[in-house]
């Protein structure tokens, strides 16, 4: 019995890792397809001049934020657990970034 046990565990492990790998691959490829899709919509909407002037800025920023969210959470693995400090630092970085952009936008005329 004891002789067979490690063999069995190893096979199970191998299967499990294979399943994990294909799950991960599927997730990453789906994210990539979504990013391409968002890029196409953003470029298409602007180049075909589908957007009224006042709506373009907001629309493009929303598309960019969704795409960056995918980059951060899927490609850069911020969805993994144990990343609390990283999330805090990114949130601080984004907060400071928004403040800087707003300040400069209002300061320059």
């Amino acid at each position: 019995m004891e002789k067979h046990e490690p063999q069995l565990t190893r096979n199970q492990m191998e299967l499990e890792m294979k399943a994990d790998r294909s799950r991960e691959m599927q997730l990453q490829l789906t994210s990539f397809a979504l990013m391409i899709f968002l890029t196409l919509i953003a470029f298409g909407a602007v180049m075909a001049e589908l957007m009224p002037h006042w709506a373009a800025g907001g629309f493009l920023i929303i598309m960019a934020i969704v795409q960056v969210y995918l980059q951060l959470y899927m490609f850069m693995h911020m969805n993994n657990k144990g990343n609390t400090w990283i999330k805090v630092m990114m949130a601080l970085g984004i907060f400071v970034a928004l403040t800087i952009v707003a300040t400069l936008r209002l300061l320059i005329w």
């Binding site: 890792m17 990539f32 890029t39 373009a56 630092m89």
Partner: protein, 209 residues
């Protein structure tokens, strides 16, 4: 560096999460995110300046919607976006100790990054010849500073990943070099994140009259 208590995975022959198997690896990972937080604020100041100076002082015919080469920008966007995916695939190969695949995907990432950079050099050269230069207007200064700074990051990323590949060509994947590969791939994704904002804020919004 030598104190790694995380056991090897019997199937891959390296620890799971090999990039964070040592204290040094963990520290590099957290510190690199801290660095990226700083980079975020740096690019924010360049973006803020650009938004403030968009088309400022630019002559008729040299405004953003007159000059931007959107076809080229679209191709460059696709190249960089794809290179972000190949970088993910390289890291997935690294985690299962498949050094051959990792090297292959990293080389593809480098090739895509190089093509992006070539496109940007061509683009800048083209703008320069039609009269949109660093000193032609406040808009020009802000444009070349922001987009050029991003381009410099791409160049640095290419040199960094090339150096890692050359230095570790015959070393396999270890708890020592895995964190180095991993943070370089984070850097590469960050470059793509910045580019998403550049193509949205600079190019696409620049085309809206």
């Amino acid at each position: 560096m030598g104190h790694h208590s995380v056991p090897n995975n019997p199937i891959t022959g390296i620890p799971d999460h090999v990039e964070k198997a040592t204290l040094e690896g963990k520290n590099k990972y957290v510190a690199f995110w801290f660095f990226l937080g700083g980079e975020t604020t740096l690019f924010a100041s360049l973006f803020g300046t650009y938004i403030g100076l968009h088309n400022s002082g630019a002559k008729e015919g040299l405004r953003s919607y007159d000059i931007f080469e959107m076809g080229l920008v679209f191709i460059m966007t696709m190249l960089l976006l794809t290179s972000s995916l190949t970088s993910v695939l390289a890291m997935m190969a690294m985690k299962r100790n498949d050094v051959k695949k990792m090297k292959m995907w990293l080389i593809i990432t480098l090739a895509l990054g190089l093509a992006f950079l070539a496109g940007e050099i061509y683009e800048f050269n083209h703008y320069y010849h039609i009269g949109h230069t660093f000193t032609s207007s406040a808009f020009g200064s802000a444009f070349y500073t922001l987009v050029g700074f991003h381009g410099a990051h791409v160049l640095f990323g290419l040199l960094w990943i090339t150096t890692l590949l050359v230095r570790n060509w015959n070393r396999g994947i270890t708890v020592v070099n895995a964190p180095k590969f991993y943070v370089s791939s984070l850097y590469w994704h960050f470059i793509d994140v910045v580019w998403v904002f550049i193509f949205s804020v600079v190019y696409l919004m620049g085309m809206v009259k």
